[in-house]
Symmetry: C2
Subunit: 387 residues, 2 copies
């Protein structure tokens, strides 16, 4: 069923999704080849990966790391590049079949658009691309006959449950673990540290998404991502807290029937599915056992305490550049929280102020998104400084 080897370009190969993608690829050398590897700044790991996987090209986004990379790979045939422009160029490489976008944040937008314009199918792990510019990106994908294959476990779940179905979607339920602070009150949250926020109960992930999970912003971004991936209205998307992270999401069809995709929390499965869709590939990932999970529980998220979720719905309903404002402000506050410059609850405050104060653009162009992102970052940083 998989006759030709698929060449995969991994943007962000040194991150959590990137390294797990390489695990999937190395387990199936007859099916996949990592043809392009890129990293933001982790040159040591990128060198190690390049030597192990022998891609055609590697790119380091941080140009100051170029000499070290070039030097380390000088005795190989691997082409070595640096910078954002190189990133946008390598995704168009003719032999690439799938571009797996595992870089973090708004930085994913440009190379993803470049890949779509080059007709490459996208395995999307960079949800911010759709959060910021979902309308534009999905239109472009349609125009170029490009598939957007979700890698997020929740969206992969919905995507898997949609296979073979032609029914209208009535509703989807995105499940949320609730993060490390589920059930905590405002007093508790006002005191939490970065170390506490970085301890996710079920998933091992990068720092940015782990903080987003603790603040429920990750779920908010996923709501917006789901809107664009599955062409839904905001009122068709519900979030349900499911602390065991076993049911990855649920879809309800127009006959009322619901399908859920389940399994142990392991990102390798949705990564593999994005690479093999519509096929599945036998593997030896650990299997789920009901007896290890005698009770699967569900509760409503508390968006009065975890305000980011309400802000994300607000941005989705407002449309235009509002999700872009939400995302840019969030990227700033998460970085500042990780730098211990602001408290956990202050993150939502800054985001909310940005959404209220930045210029709203109802029908933004690509340039407008870049401008909004830039202005929001400047404003959000000012707000943080004045806290």
């Amino acid at each position: 069923m998989h006759q030709q080897i698929k060449n995969i370009a991994i943007l962000g190969s040194t991150g959590s999704i990137g390294t797990q993608s390489l695990e999937v690829i190395s387990a199936n050398p007859s099916l996949f080849k990592a043809s392009v590897l890129t990293a933001q700044a982790n040159v040591e790991l990128l060198i190690e990966q390049a030597l192990a996987f022998q891609p055609d090209v590697v790119v380091i986004a941080d140009e100051s790391k170029y000499p070290a990379l070039k030097e380390a790979l000088k005795s190989t045939n691997i082409e070595v590049k640096a910078g954002m422009e190189a990133l946008c160029e390598v995704v168009t490489q003719s032999k690439t079949d799938i571009v797996l976008t595992a870089l973090v944040g708004f930085a994913g937008l440009k190379p993803t658009i470049a890949a779509i314009k080059a007709g490459k199918n996208i395995a999307l792990a960079n949800k911010e691309t759709l959060v910021v510019a979902g309308e534009l990106v999905t239109a472009l994908a349609k125009e170029n006959g490009v598939k957007i294959l979700p890698v997020d476990s929740e969206h992969s779940a919905i995507f898997q449950c949609l296979v073979g179905e032609e029914s209208a979607i009535e509703k989807i339920y995105l499940t949320a673990s609730g993060g490390p602070f589920r059930g905590k009150d405002i007093a508790f949250l006002s005191e939490v540290t970065k170390q506490q926020a970085l301890k996710h109960p079920n998933w091992v992930m990068g720092a940015k998404i782990t903080i987003d999970s603790a603040s429920l912003m990750n779920k908010g971004l996923e709501v917006i991502e789901a809107k664009w991936l599955f062409n839904l209205e905001a009122n068709q998307i519900d979030v349900i807290v499911h602390p065991q992270s076993v049911i990855h999401s649920i879809i309800q069809f127009e006959d009322g029937s619901m399908k859920a995709q389940m399994g142990l929390p392991d990102m390798k499965l949705p990564i593999q599915y994005a690479l093999t869709h519509p096929h599945r590939l036998k593997n030896d990932f650990k299997r789920f056992n009901f007896l290890d999970y005698p009770s699967l529980t569900f509760e409503q998220p508390n968006s009065k305490i975890f305000r980011n979720l309400a802000l994300a719905f607000e941005a989705l309903n407002k449309g235009g550049n509002m999700p872009c404002i939400l995302n840019a402000a969030n990227e700033v506050v998460v970085a500042e929280f990780l730098n211990e410059q602001i408290g956990f609850l202050q993150m939502s405050e800054v985001i909310e102020t940005c959404m209220a104060k930045l210029d709203f653009v109802a029908q933004p162009s690509l340039e407008d998104y870049f401008e909004t992102d830039k202005q929001t970052r400047i404003f959000a940083k000012e707000l943080v400084t004045n806290i």
Copy 2:
């Protein structure tokens, strides 16, 4: 999408599945017509249904009820017939698109085979057909290009989860409510009455299947049914007790990914799906709400106490006419339990003795099944008499 009206022959229209099927049909008069209605003996309800739905033909299996039926419908254009032969004849009626087999027990085998031979798609609610003669029936269906569309909620769940999937099935989990006696011990079960056994916690069903649910034989029969519907080995089928009856069953693919079909316990949904597959049809059935089910629980069935489940797996592993023996003995003991001739636990004892004592036939013909069924009933009744 449904351009032509589908003519449905309902075998067993006066039972629980039959009446719910008529509800689905009457809600969608532009899509479905009940062209044939048949009943075992409930002539009053059959007359009422015939007058309401104006089928082409009605059949009463119990010939003694024929005069009453004939008299009541004399001023209509509805053809009136009686007896098993008539039942096997009406399913071949040329305009029928789907034969919905909702009659109870071994009696379903003959008309189902007649319908398959006439090339009719089968909406299968009579699981005993596949339990008794699964190999023969599925081969015949294949030969005649006939679809077997499961109506049982568990099998419909697996069937729905298989849509669009080409992956090998690694495993299925059939969920079981556990029935009214879940968690009870032998001492308790030795004293239970027919009234207690008839009170199912989640599903309103006919008497035979309700007793089968209380004894876990229903799940045992479903395991054998699943084997034939989905072409599985016994070790690929697991039973998990899920008292809320919200997850209707689960499939695990070869990549470890699992899909579950969920919803409120309402047989109208799987009935409708069998009639519309591969499409779905918008309806106003009550929707599931996670907040009404904050906890979905799972536990291992106790097949030491509920021995029927172990006996069913034994019959499945043994093959040949053993499932036929199991089923015939079960039909006898359930009737005798409902007649208050034997106790709850004695049902399994009689079945086990029948499985040990009746002649085993490794490669039974259709005639062998009828002979096995007959001999088992005689022997089981003797055993009951001597208790």
